[in-house]
Structure formats: C-alpha cells, structure tokens
Symmetry: C2
Subunit: 444 residues, 2 copies
Amino acid sequence: MIATPLTTDLYQLTMMAGYFVQGRHERATASFELFVRRLPPHRNYLIAAGAASLVRYLERLSFSDDDIAWLRRSDALANVPNGFFDYLREFRFSGDLWAVPEGTPVFAHEPIVRITAPIAQAQLVETAALAFVTFQTAIASKASRIVAAAAGRPIMEFGARRAHGLEAALFAARAAYLAGAAGTSFVEAGRRFGIPLSGTMAHSWIMSAPSEAQAFADYCRLFGERSALLLDTYDTVAAARLVVASGLKPAAVRLDSGDLASLSRQVRHVLDAGGLSSTQILASGDLDEFSIAALLDAGSPIDGFGVGTRLVTSEDAPALGGVYKLVEIEERGAARRVVKTSEGKTTWPGRKQVWRVMPGGCAVRDVVSFADESPVADAVPLLVETMHQGRSTDVDSSLEAARDRCRRLVAELPQAVRTVGEETPYQVDPSAAVAAAIPDERTG
Amino acid sequence: MIATPLTTDLYQLTMMAGYFVQGRHERATASFELFVRRLPPHRNYLIAAGAASLVRYLERLSFSDDDIAWLRRSDALANVPNGFFDYLREFRFSGDLWAVPEGTPVFAHEPIVRITAPIAQAQLVETAALAFVTFQTAIASKASRIVAAAAGRPIMEFGARRAHGLEAALFAARAAYLAGAAGTSFVEAGRRFGIPLSGTMAHSWIMSAPSEAQAFADYCRLFGERSALLLDTYDTVAAARLVVASGLKPAAVRLDSGDLASLSRQVRHVLDAGGLSSTQILASGDLDEFSIAALLDAGSPIDGFGVGTRLVTSEDAPALGGVYKLVEIEERGAARRVVKTSEGKTTWPGRKQVWRVMPGGCAVRDVVSFADESPVADAVPLLVETMHQGRSTDVDSSLEAARDRCRRLVAELPQAVRTVGEETPYQVDPSAAVAAAIPDERTG
C-alpha cells in the first residue's frame, strides 16, 4: 500500500498550515463524519468496507525527512513558517475513530466512519479515508447484489485485469469476498488475505496447443479432477462433445461467450448424455447481477459464475459520492456543532450514532441520533470505537469476521431491500434532536 | 506499486505449469496483443497510457523465496513437478514489448501493446498488463474529452478521494496530466511525477472558523495572492460580497455547488463591481465534459475547472474491455498465426503494426497490417519497440514527452472525431493480408 502522508490533497496541507498559524492545529478538536448523501441507482443498501485499510494507514502515518524536505521546497507552502515543518516531524495520528464494522449494511446519511482528532490531523487524512472507504464500500455493495442474484451458487471474482491497477485489484478481491464471493482468481489476494483461489484456463492455452483435444488432455493429466475446461475457443457445443469423447472427467467446464442460457442447456445435455452429470458448468463473460438473475430465471443449468469487470469496477456506479464533513468542533472547552448550507448539500450537524431498530430480529428502520443521546428502543448501535487515541482497539477486524457479519446482517434486512430487481428504500430517520438541528435545505 | 509476481490470475500459473510439463514453457515463443474490441459509448478515440508502468513491472519481475514457498504449499499447484518451482526461481522476463507510445490516440482493434516472449512469461504477465494499460488508458481517454470540452481553460484533477484507492489516485493523476490536465491536487502525484499541484480550501476551513470573513482573511494572510477562496459554504453570492468588502485580493474564488452558470455570472458581477476583475472564477462539483461544455455554451464566466469523481473513475466507462490475445506462436522454427472464433469475440491473427495514414499531416484513417508487411503509403507506424529481450529500449518514456505527444497527435485527428458531443467513428481497416486471414464471424 502507498502509505506516505503525501497521499492527500494539497489543500489539506495548506489548511493544516493555516490551522498552525492560527494556533489551533492541535488545540481545536474536530469531528468529521464520512457518509454518502444518496445511494447510487439500483442500490438499496451499501456494505461498509475499507475501515481496516484506514486503521492501518492511520497507525503508520508519519512524515519522513524526505517528505518534509520536499514540502519545504514546494511553492504551495512557500510562506509557511518553519515551525509548521517542525510540527510535521512530530506528527502522529492521535485521534479516535468510530466505524461501522466492515460487512455491515449501511444507508444514505449514516456515518460509516467518524474521526475525532486535533483538527490538523483530522483534516490531513480526509483524502485517504474517502479513497479507502468509498472504493471498498462500492465494490462490496456491488458484490453483495451479485451474490444475492446467484441465489446460493458460488460467485468467483475474476476481475483483476480490469481493476483500476493492481492495488485496486487486491482490495476489490477482498471486498468481494467480504460480501460473499466464494473466491478470487487473484493470487496475491489469496496470499495476503487467505481468500480461496479459483481459476480455469485461458483461450491461449487452447490456441497454443496442437489441438483442442490435446489441450484438454494435457491439462487434466496435470490437474486431474480439479480441472475446469474452457469450451468456447472455437465452438462451445462441439468442445463439450470433445470432452465426452475424450474420456476426461473434469470437475467443471466454463462457457465464456455466446448465448449462455442456450449453450448451458446444450452443454448440460451433452455432458449428461455422456456420463458427465457431475461435471459442473461455470459461466463467465461480462456478467452482473442482472444477467445472472436473467440466466437463472430462464432455468439455465449453471452451477457457478465467474464475475469480473462489472464487479471489480462496480461498473454501473464506480464511485460512491462519499463525503467527509466537519460536524463538530471543540475549542477552549466549548463544543459547537456545525453545518454547511450549500445548495443541495446541507449536512446533519454533530457527532452521531446509527441505531438499527430490530424488534424481533429483523431490521425495520434506522435512526441517526447524536452520539450522546440515550439508546433507541429495540435497536443496536452500529458505530464502534475502532481506534482510541491513535491506537487500534480490540475490535475484531478479520476478513472472515466481516464476511460472517455481512451474511448475517444482510439476511436481517427486509426481503424487499435485499431483492436485486426492486428499488426499495429503507427508512432512515434523524432522531428528533438531530432533526431539530438540521437547517432548512437551501433551494437556490 | 505492488509488484510481486503473484499479482496475476491463478490460471496464468497453472497454465505456466502446464507449459512446463509440456516442455514448451521457454521453447514456444508466443505473441500476445492487447487491444479493445470496441470503444465505450461517447468515446471516439482512446489515449494510450500505462505502458511505462508495465515496462517497470516487467523489468523487476522475479519470484522471491517467499513467493515460491507460498506457491509450493498452494492446493492449486499440488501436483506440479518440483522442476517448475526451480524454473520460477530463475524466472525473468526476457521478451520483447512493442507499445504505442503513451499519449497516442488509438482505436478499437489496434494493438496498444504487443508482447513476444517465451509462452510461460507472456502468459504470466497478462493480468498486470491489462490492469495497467486498460485502467490508465480509460482515465487518459476520459481526461482528453474533458480537456477538449474546456476549450483552453485549465482542468485541475481533484479526484484522489474518489479513486479506487491511493495507487489508483496516483496513476489517475498521471493519466489526466498526460492527456492535458493542467495539474492535480494529489500531492504524492506531484512529488513522484512532477505534476503541478493545485488546491484551494475545503468547507471545513470555513466551518471551523469563528466566521467566514475570518476564514478568508486568515487564509489570504498566509497564502497571499495565490489564495483561492471557496464561496459556497453558506451562500455563494453573499460570500462574494464578503470578499469584496474585506479588501482581500484573492487569485481566485471557487464555486462548488448550485447552479454554476447563474452563480458564476452573479459572482463575476459582484467581483467586477468590487474592483476584483482579475480574480478568477473556478468551478467544481461533479463536473464532466458534458456539464463543462454546457456551462461554456451558456457563456458562464468560468476560468478553470476542478474535476474529480467523473474523471478519476472514468465514471461513464470505468472499464475498457481490453483483452490480451494470443495471435502467433512459434515452435521448432515454425510460426503459426492463431485465432479464436468464439461468438462475437473473433480475433485478428498474427503480429501486427498500426499505420496512421496522414497525407498532408492530418490523420484520415488507420491500417492494421501484419508486422512484417511493407509500410503503408503516407502513413506512420504507431507501435514502437519499447523493450528488447527484457530490457527497456531508449524510447523516451517521460511524462512530459507523453503529454506533448498527446496534445500534438490529438490535434492531428479529424475535427469531428475530437468533438465531444458527436459520436464520429474513425476508420480503421485491416490490411488486405490481415483481412484475408480473419475468419468469418460466428453468429451463433
């Protein structure tokens, strides 16, 4: 991970210098909340992800001599007093971080992360906090829909090649697994995160061989019953007949192009007639939740799906409009809740908690209260203290825990909210106290 | 950059093991070409980017003892002979790489990168090659459109927070600058790539201050005439009046919400009437080429644009459907061109060159020939040998050179192709020899 303190926007550094000159950089304590103003099209919920990356980043955040030397030379900080650079030399993140645990379904207006820290610290980390959380949340949210559409059949994440670089591929694989994908093809993600690996063969394996039959036979000789043979290099159904004629017993075959509904039926028929009824059919090729649902609605005999591009880029909503907004500032012992009243971008002031109201174990609505309000009846709080004074707390941040949490908490959402084809809003209300503090929206 | 040899798909490693067992891993020489089958919606051309990252990756590619130990333990390679792991220990990329220089406009069917290497090597690097080139090309292509729409006004890339992680933010900033953006807000990109940095202030600077007037005054005191003041925290036009009343002389003001066409006119009027006619107006807030063109068509007095989310994610086409296809294989002295005939995915066989036909200095069409065909009349070849036997050649791979090239070569495209609002196809023809070798498209 690129984890220098310069992975930030220039204005964070100029504002830090400004706070320093004002003498408020460590004396004013700021609370910022990270949330989305609205859900992207088709999404009824988001799956929170990225807090683990953020915590690791914050724990390690410090300025090296090189970083400081480079900043001193930069035009943008030309008039900044020397004392500021001395401050950077001692800089560490010493704040508190509250986060919705990874894997938790969240909605618009709900803080996913809240940071309370000296204002210069809280300002510096905005860019990284948003980049980690909005990207990983976007991918986990898309993955959750795809997993739901597959209705119990495994989804394999095959998208590394179309991700936004190799680091994005790594965290997309993690987010997909967290949200219920069964595995990934990306080997580095398997190594770093313990995600089960999955793979078949590429067309090049077939095309480089003297014949398709030879390619199949050589692969099965080496990989035996784990082999998954790719059928569509030349003619899918003919390739299925070739598999039967060869006497090979592959675990699976993969279809990667053409009319997958029709081809899967034809291939199933050929395999069954040839005594390969236990050979599974995997499908891939520009799939997403909509095409998977359509294939299954059509009764396609497909046992698992490889999903790439549209998953790892969250193609129909590649960016969440996540924002990181100042909600409260405490100076000289006095706390002040703040709001922005920009047209269409009004914020909810104050440090907040999210309550999921669950009478009888099923979520019915959420309430966003101030952090210091009394608990909401029949509700569980979602934000958990994840860093205290710059150190990670003992919250279980493992990927497997997040994956279990996701499965459990998605199942507790109302059925209509989890249904892929319907846009069903879930109710999120401000508490009475928060509602009273929200200014009227400016309309221009 | 994450640059381990495990940043690949599992099947690349299983196929490598297969080639090893066949005895062909280093004896068969494969040529793969990376290209897109079709342009995304609205795009009339792409801007090639990512080759510099790929070359750096290939030069450093080797398996550490840890990498090999991990692979030996993996279930997926359980039956693979020991000799394969010994081979990995000595593995280096020793192939040739031909690439369209970064910044060059390219079209569908045109190889952007061609790798010719022992088949196991060429296979391993597919995932990284696609991830680098398709991502960076997607962003550069989007940026080129946004720069065109701004019609000479500077575009600042402000999107790090919405990129797919911090590495993606870094390479998105590079791709945007390459395609003509004037600068970036992402400090690490400024440091690593020498891109000019730009920034203003966030709403939190205003909200955390005792008053908006105090926030403006404190910022200008520190940053003087370079200051760009953000006007829309509470009321944009009132803030413009405040600037005038304050006597401050900021370089610019920024509008980040609301009806930018109307607000920019009102703010211009207030500034001009207050003697601040040299203070520029910058606009930001979910902008893209369409909204920028609309603002300028409406005569909005905006002097520069900050563009974030929609640029760094290429939001309307976040993934190029780039593929990396085997086109030729040479074994025992005999070369064989290969094709795939999958439905809708037929490839053009053989190692190819792209010729841009430019009678009189303006591009009129491209011809894709075999690499060993004679030059096309009035045309320049686009693919350049960028690595030879595993080493980078002396091709100028600097970012500034790529940026100059982009500006020059985009200007040589037909006017209609460079026009943002029109979908105008540019003609790309296979040479007669290539056309004769393309199989009829299977139609299912």
